[in-house]
Symmetry: C2
Subunit: 146 residues, 2 copies
């Protein structure tokens, strides 16, 4: 699959803000103050299922792992929820959500559980900046040294 | 992490039937006739998050991929839903669910959406046998030839 022809689905663009681009995926932050909620979208035109990525599934798993670790370190959450669902938005995207036992939906999954509550813009900016630094730092330290 | 000390969580044991063991994970079939629904449980004591697996995350992704392909080939579903949630059962487990646009919960996720509806035992046996054959066949064909 190719990056050429890929563009972010309009629903994902409307619900999120961009964090940064990783080698395979664009990292987004959901604008929902109920949950620290990140989304990885592989920049591959036409991908709907993880299996559509073929050998690049390994790269997606690396990015899921790196983002999961950053989100867990930042939030000290009780549980991560990681999911590729896509029943509404067919473009392949992977949710990575930090859950707390006192959050707005616990123990239910977040999808459709609580009305979305937009962040105060400054709070969202700060969250995105922290995640971007953690993810970029982890990515740089994971690259082989030359 | 080690297999020693691992045993299947009692809630997963109660809700499912075993399909087969893959190199990392036990594959289970949820006893819910509403959805063709498989669950991979890495046999690693104490694992709760995918990131707990370290380097074995790559092996988990291989098994998710192999099981996803088998389930999609068998069901000709409209969408796969793949998720590691674990808010209720903390033992690491990955749901792989075949969704149809006319199923009992579409487009909502399956968790908590529709009351569980046990299979007719013969139908469940047949489903498990088909999945086991597909997964074992795929696994055998993916191993390097000696």
């Amino acid at each position: 699959m190719h990056e050429t022809g890929w563009s972010l689905h309009s629903q994902l663009a409307a619900d999120t803000v961009p964090v940064c681009d990783l080698p395979l995926s664009r990292l987004l932050a959901m604008n929902d103050a109920n949950f620290p909620w990140l989304i990885l979208v592989p920049r591959r035109a036409g991908a709907s299922e993880m299996i559509d990525l073929g050998a690049e599934q390994a790269l997606l798993m690396d990015e899921i792992s790196l983002v999961s670790r950053a989100l867990k370190d930042e939030t000290r959450c009780d549980k991560l929820n990681v999911a590729a669902i896509g029943n509404v938005v067919p473009q392949l995207h992977v949710h990575i959500v930090a859950r707390r036992k006192d959050d707005a939906a616990w123990p239910k999954p977040v999808w459709g559980a609580a009305p979305r509550r937009p962040y105060d813009p400054a709070v969202l900016d700060a969250f995105v900046a922290i995640v971007r630094d953690l993810v970029r730092g982890a990515y740089e330290s994971s690259r082989p040294t030359s």
